[in-house]
Symmetry: C2
Subunit: 362 residues, 2 copies
């Protein structure tokens, strides 16, 4: 098992990464002094991991209140959030009752937001069960829900007390979900860690085969990168925005296709190809490195062509993206593999060329 | 004009209290560097004060996006909150676009919560236009909405950048609203400021006649008391809970009658009488002081008898109150006028006696 710490002064917290952590009561119990917790999960994860977690907790006298939500990004909205509040209130959960998120990024984001806002804030614990959630959404305190007009438009920065990334839970993940997580893993190499990118080029087949050692290494190194960025810039006033590589395009794909049609990681993959292509058109990234990036995403089985929404629709969808300052879209782009920058100075014509060249034509 | 500071380190902010502040652009402009602001108000306040505020802002090149909500506590819910989000998104408001709350406590609480959660947090400015909001809800950073199962159950701690308490706006307040605000003013005297309570006994008629000097003094002294409490305990881990004197009973009245049937200040008045009565039954507060408290509320024209909900209904409603720890109701009670304490040790029989003695019988 690996242990990392996200250093945020009085809001610092540990991330544990390893196998069979759902059975490790000693990692959870220090955070459950009142012997009661609400566990938020979904209809897919509940049959797999709710009973094991319940058994671990009950063996130490902790009473669990299960809250089981419908599965899918299309349910990451105010209505489903209301189901969490309803359950917490009907069970009379109090200010000291922790919420445990047991599931992927959607469960983590919604549970974290419920924890941030129920009774103006209750303790929060993350047990991510997808690769994407383990390397990205469960670390860093971004919580929230979608709005019909944009993804993650409603939310809060709210840090968990502890994160348990149990690699064993990845064995039940579909290949598609595993690949979607790898998209975010590749991202860390691209924005700030060339040698990790090279490691991924050498070990992609092991990751796809779910080799436990390779997974533990990739998750740990991803979380290290994210923890460093978040510790330096918790509220995304600067460097943290680099983590959004591929996300401006990716969110447009997700919103344009309807939440849930594309997995977040898939949209980020196609979006990252667009960001690399635009960086190349700006003369920053070499053609060779652009192809190298595309090659790694292809080997991971991820989409490298965005869906056929049409250029105007893409531009409109990006106009509503959160990462807009003073009416200009700010892109995360690449100077090289391992070095991302933010730029608001992109000629509209280059952007159009990128959108045309990297999306399907229906 | 009086100026106070709420001392919360990097979240400290000024409160300005005086006449005709809506025309004082110099108080607002430092907080509007991007020349754009969304103003959230309601159908009652908009015809009175939206145009004056717009004129002040426009004269300095600040573009205002008005968001006008239905008026009343019954609209302080997720649905109305959604109207704010919808407007912010359709106007493409960005992370640096401040939200200005122009109205009473409901507008302030909802706008603050929208500011805390839109794009994970945008700047927030309070312009309270009721006495209640000026002395209570606009200071201290509590924001939120109601849930059908309880008041203020969903929310966040989120501090404004500045508060403008314009006494001139109180001239259009109904007598009933003015009195509801006075209930919270009296509360500050009761919990921690005996000499202010005595000042109120001597100046109640001036306040009811809306004497500007008396109002400015009462608002300033109330805000001073609140600012001291909040600076010492922003997140209500201790002393801040004393500000809830009368609120455990009061919230039960509001929830039991349906939001909006009783004004918050009216419910707090009847609830404070219950708290004083219970303190008296516990042998803490003298009968003489209990009568003195009731007398001042009566002189302010406030209800001193709670509605006829029945004892069992009151107990049930209080069981869902946020101020519950370990299944016990914690009451804010009085040791004397000017000295409040928190106690979880109230014999159920005394509580029943208080509920019977101080509520109407239908």
């Amino acid at each position: 098992m690996q242990t990392l710490t996200v250093g945020l002064a009085e809001r610092s917290y540990p991330i544990y990464i390893g196998s069979d952590l759902l059975g490790c009561a000693e990692l959870l119990l220090p955070h459950l002094p009142h012997k009661r917790a609400a566990v938020v999960t979904n209809t897919t994860v509940a049959p797999l991991y709710l009973d094991p977690l319940r058994a671990t907790l009950q063996a130490h006298g902790v009473n669990m209140i299960p809250i089981i939500l419908p599965d899918g990004e299309q349910h990451k909205n105010a209505e489903t959030l209301g189901l969490i509040y309803d359950a917490l209130l009907s069970h009379r959960c109090e200010r000291n009752t922790p919420l445990i998120a047991l599931g992927g990024g959607v469960i983590g984001d919604m549970t974290g937001y419920a924890a941030a806002t129920y009774l103006r804030g209750v303790p929060f614990i993350q047990i991510p069960t997808t690769l994407l959630a383990q390397v990205d959404s469960s670390v860093g305190g971004k919580t929230g829900i979608n709005h019909p007009l944009g993804k993650n438009m409603i939310g809060a920065f709210y840090q968990p007390q502890v994160v348990l990334a149990d690699i064993t839970t990845l064995n039940t993940l579909s290949d598609q979900e595993l690949r979607a997580g790898i998209a975010e893993v590749i991202k860390y190499g691209l924005i700030r860690d060339l040698s990790f990118f090279e490691w991924l080029e050498q070990n992609m087949e092991k990751l796809l085969a779910r080799d436990a050692d390779a997974l533990q290494y990739a998750i740990t190194r991803s979380c290290q990168n994210k923890a460093e960025v978040v510790a330096a810039d918790e509220r995304e006033n600067g460097e943290r925005a680099l983590l959004n590589l591929g996300h401006t395009f990716g969110h447009a794909i997700e919103t344009g296709m309807g939440y849930g049609a594309w997995l977040h990681g898939e949209a980020v993959a196609a979006g990252t190809i667009m960001a690399a292509d635009l960086s190349c058109r700006l003369g920053w990234l070499s053609k060779e490195d652009t192809d190298r990036i595309r090659g790694l995403f292809e080997r991971a089985g991820l989409p490298v062509i965005a869906p056929a929404l049409g250029v105007e629709k893409y531009l409109q969808l990006m106009g509503l993206d959160k990462k807009v300052v003073g009416g200009k879209i700010r892109f995360v782009l690449l100077k090289s593999i391992g070095c991302a920058v933010i730029s608001g100075d992109v000629q509209p014509e280059l952007l159009r060329q990128t959108l045309v060249a990297n999306s399907a034509h229906g």
